[in-house]
Amino acid sequence: MGSVVNPELMETLEEFGLADAAACFNCGNCTAVCSLSSEETPFPRKVIRYLQLGMNDRLIQSPEPWLCYYCGDCSETCPRQANPGEVMMGLRRYLTSAYDWTGISRLFYTSKVFEVMSILVIAALVGLGFYFFHGPMLTDRVALNVFAPNRVIEILDLVMLAVLSFLLLSNAWRLFKAVMGDPGQYPDMDISDRQQPLNRSILGVPLKLYLSEAKEFVVQFLTQKRFANCGTASQRKQWVVHLLIMTGYSTVFILVVVGIRWFQRDEFYPIWHPVRLLGYYATFAILYGTTYAIMGRLNKSKTVYQNSHSTDWVFLILLWLTTFSGILIHATRWLEMPSATYYIYVIHLMIAVPMLVLEVPFAKWTHQLYRPLVLYLMKVRQRALQSNQ
């Protein structure tokens, strides 16, 4: 018995901003032209075909969407202009929501109303929290740690970190099971199918393999070196921009969430102090990266910027505004403007918190984890297969 075809899936994916996948006539140019597509994990046509046929299980088990960094070569050369790069992008959105057990991700991606409302509600909660619980607003000097004591923020941060981590990691666990092939989860799968030797169950991989290959995860997470090989040489810039945003974001995330007591201080560090330098780096990196990306999307300067989902805009704008308001806080502190500092601080958090709460476990940010995770799992699996042989 063969797999049953279900073309309705494409319509579902349209809600995630999928376009043009139907136009594909399966010539295979995209896979052949892609510089990251390999013998073991060829893409994008394979997953596009599964999509055309509505093979949802196959898609959910596919590591390929996470291996694509969207250089746009496939879309530029596609004979049907079916935009395979954008289809991969749409698939990533769909998969993010498929791995999210809460259903929030799906709502966030498929409903603009939910998207905006959720941001506003969280922002309002943050605002109300400050309204009711803020500390004294000293006006003779800038005393942020009196207005919002960093010890309190730290506790809240850690609570948020715990919740977000739980959500993100539980979603990542679902991805892990799907990609490594949990046969119990998908009973209709034919495990011996010769076409899918790599997608099939090897959950029984020895734990020590996972440990010995852990380096792969760390390296890929920090360097994203795979992105550097994506597309033609001119695409390098894309990798640099991406690396800037990602490292800036991660740096500030660690500074704010874990190191708030060192980061949020009422005295300025000396200019050469590592925390201050890190702060400046993160600010510059995110601001440059997001501005570049926003301009790119406005001008549609690259294939990768041709199509923008509303969540792409939200992510970039929130990130940009967070950074910008962060700079403003820095400036008002420098200029010793206490009230302005407190207000902007609240606004800053009203932007930053919704962004973190929504993006980290449910939306765009997940790929920061999923990408290196999938690469790492691929490596583990490859090793496991090698040792099996």
């Binding site: 063969g2 797999s3 049953v4 139907a22 006539f25 046929l53 076409q195």
Partner: protein
């Protein structure tokens, strides 16, 4: 590239020039042309030997003409490809040089030598053939073509789109035209189509337009419900017997009934049938017709799948594309929801391509006639996609699946149409001929049918597609016209279609001069291509008949009155009515009965020569003496 090996004249009457063609490398790669020239230069009567890369090219022809004008030669032998290709070319060149074009002999050293033999053997055989040609050439006599009056009248058989087009064009050029159609409708298969790819024109409108022009032309006589029952004569002077009778076939009568019920009058279009002809016969009658040229436009019939081929005839949910197109025509402007067929909601429909086309020996089962349709039917891909897109647009909830081997949307605008089908969410599957899709009746499932396929677009995976309806894209087969083929001795190709002389040199002519091909009787074509072919055929017919006379080759039998004793054996043996007659004539004061030839009717077959006990008959240009000389020359070489 020409080597001149002149010799001093021997003083003989017949001075032969030999011209050997390399044919690019076609000949010279296998035949040692230099050696061949050497071998034949000393044959009796040979004055000059030339070689050239392409003897048929202008410089090649000029070589011959120069030798003629210089008085060096008075017989020409060209050793090159098959005479069918270029005998006429060289005769023309000789004629332009002022020599009788029949003092020419052609040696075929390509098809008969270089394409089948290699090395020394090839050169040896070529030497023999050229020697024979020289021997014959020395015995050639000047001949004059037979000039006969031609009727400025043409007959078109078949009133489909090609026939209508041809008839109208011939009439516009001033010829009288008889348009013979076996049904009571004009428009043939085209009339039964829906929208045409890719312009979206309604086939009915196209047919109504051209049929209207034909019906209003005062030069065209339409013979509906008519068949050709006898045929004789030659180009410019064919005689046809037609039988016209009231329609008897059930399908025909049903259509006429439908026309009456729908109030479709004479000259009006009935969907699914065509334009009702103005003059329906009410009794059977025989008509004889004299005509100058015949345009065959007998068209095609769709392939009928075998019982069980993809489930055909085993369930009424498997139908052919022509049947489906007729069904679709019933919902002209319906929009939204599901397609309904025979009262059933069609949630999904599968199209399967190449049914009865592209059949491969050893894989496909031969049809009832024992033949395989190895050819591509050319039009079904675009027609299928047209139907698929129409379904998707009109009934967006009906899913469409398409199973193909190769999508052949070759024509202008067709590839764009294929893209449109993809964008309209037609899901495509590609199969290999060895592993075609399997249509199964699924008992108790949510869908009555299931199409299973090993899909090469999904890396050879086995996929199951549940459907409500399967449509088979059936190919074209030539309309069965066995009687006419025998009657008119028409050449038929291995694919069953009428065979042209050469696809590029004489694409709309058959070997029988004066009979031309238009449209799908020759090969699968779409409407535009069929019209092109019809117009090309009309152009040829006009060229043939415009001058009011035609010239026939003089290779006909002649009687030696010295030898003929009037046995009449030749007349009995002659396969052509009227070509030989026995006539009384005065010979040395006595009345004798002798054979007489009507040159225009004689085909030069030579049967009479064989049966004559007194060797009184011979074929001009192919005499027994010439044959004997050729044989001697081959033996000597």
């Amino acid at each position: 590239m020409s080597s001149n090996q002149d010799k001093k004249p021997t003083g003989g009457q017949e001075k032969v020039g030999i011209y050997i063609c390399h044919c690019g490398g076609n000949i010279s790669d296998h035949v040692d042309v230099k050696k061949l020239a050497e071998n034949v230069k000393d044959l009796e009567g040979v004055e000059v030997v030339h070689t050239n890369t392409f003897m048929c090219s202008d410089p090649g022809q000029e070589l011959i003409q120069k030798d003629i004008k210089d008085g060096k030669i008075n017989r020409v032998v060209v050793a090159s490809c098959a005479p069918a290709l270029h005998e006429l070319t060289f005769r023309g060149a000789i004629k332009r040089a002022g020599m009788n074009p029949y003092l020419y002999e052609h040696a075929n050293i390509r098809e008969q030598v270089s394409w089948v033999h290699h090395g020394d053997q090839a050169t040896e055989k070529a030497t023999g053939l050229v020697a024979a040609a020289v021997a014959k050439a020395r015995r050639l006599k000047p001949l004059e073509p037979i000039r006969v009056e031609a009727r400025r009248h043409a007959t078109v058989v078949g009133a489909g789109v090609a026939g209508l087009r041809a008839a109208y064009d011939l009439a516009r050029r001033g010829l009288e035209v008889a348009l013979v159609e076996k049904s009571p409708f004009l428009g043939g298969r085209t009339a039964r189509l829906g929208r045409l790819v890719p312009s979206g024109e309604q086939a009915g409108e196209v047919i109504s337009r051209i049929a209207g022009l034909v019906m209003t032309s005062d030069k065209i006589s339409i013979y509906p419900c008519t068949e050709v029952t006898a045929f004789e004569g030659f180009v410019g002077n064919f005689k046809l017997t037609l039988r016209r009778k009231p329609p008897e076939e059930a399908e025909c009568r049903a259509q006429l009934k439908k026309a009456r019920e729908a109030g479709v009058g004479k000259g009006e279009f009935l969907p699914g049938a065509g334009v009702l002809t103005p003059n329906l016969p009410d009794r059977e009658e025989e008509i004889s017709l004299e005509t100058g040229a015949v345009v065959m436009a007998t068209g095609f019939k769709p392939y009928t799948p075998r019982e069980g081929e993809y489930g055909y005839l085993q369930t009424d949910r498997v139908i052919t594309l022509p049947e489906f197109v007729e069904l679709l025509a019933k919902y002209p402007d319906r929009r939204g929801g599901f397609l309904q067929v025979k009262g059933k909601q069609i949630r999904s429909v599968a199209f399967i391509h190449c049914v009865g086309s592209r059949q491969i020996p050893g894989i496909h089962e031969p049809g009832q006639d024992g033949n395989l349709n190895e050819y591509c039917s050319r039009t079904c891909c675009a027609a299928t996609l047209q139907a698929a897109v129409q379904v998707r647009k009109a009934f967006p909830r009906t899913r469409v699946f398409d199973f193909y081997r190769d999508i052949r949307t070759y024509g202008r605008g067709q590839e764009e149409f294929y893209e449109e089908a993809s964008r309209q969410r037609v899901t495509f599957f590609r199969f290999e001929p060895e592993e075609p899709p399997v249509v199964q009746v699924s008992a108790g499932g949510k869908y009555p049918l299931q199409v299973s396929v090993k899909d090469t677009l999904t890396f050879g995976e086995q996929l199951d597609v549940p459907v409500d309806l399967v449509v088979l894209a059936t190919g074209m087969m030539p309309t069965p016209i066995k009687e006419m083929v025998e009657l008119m001795k028409l050449p038929v190709g291995a694919d069953g279609f009428l065979q042209e002389v050469h696809p590029k040199l004489r694409p709309v002519e058959v070997a029988n001069t004066g009979i031309l091909l238009a449209g799908t009787c020759q090969a699968p074509m779409d409407v535009g291509e069929a019209c092109n072919a019809a117009q090309a055929a009309s152009a040829k017919a006009t060229s043939l008949l415009a001058r009011g006379y035609v010239e026939l080759d003089p290779f006909v039998a002649k009687v030696d009155p010295e030898k003929c004793s009037g046995t009449g054996l030749c007349k009995e043996a002659c396969p052509i009515e009227g070509a030989i007659s026995l006539k009384e004539r005065q010979l040395d004061g006595k009345t004798v009965v002798q054979a007489e030839i009507t040159p225009a009717l004689c085909t030069g077959c030579g049967i009479c020569v064989a049966v004559c006990p007194s060797r009184a008959l011979d074929i001009n240009g192919w005499t027994l003496e010439q044959y004997e000389a050729m044989v001697d020359a081959i033996v000597a070489a």
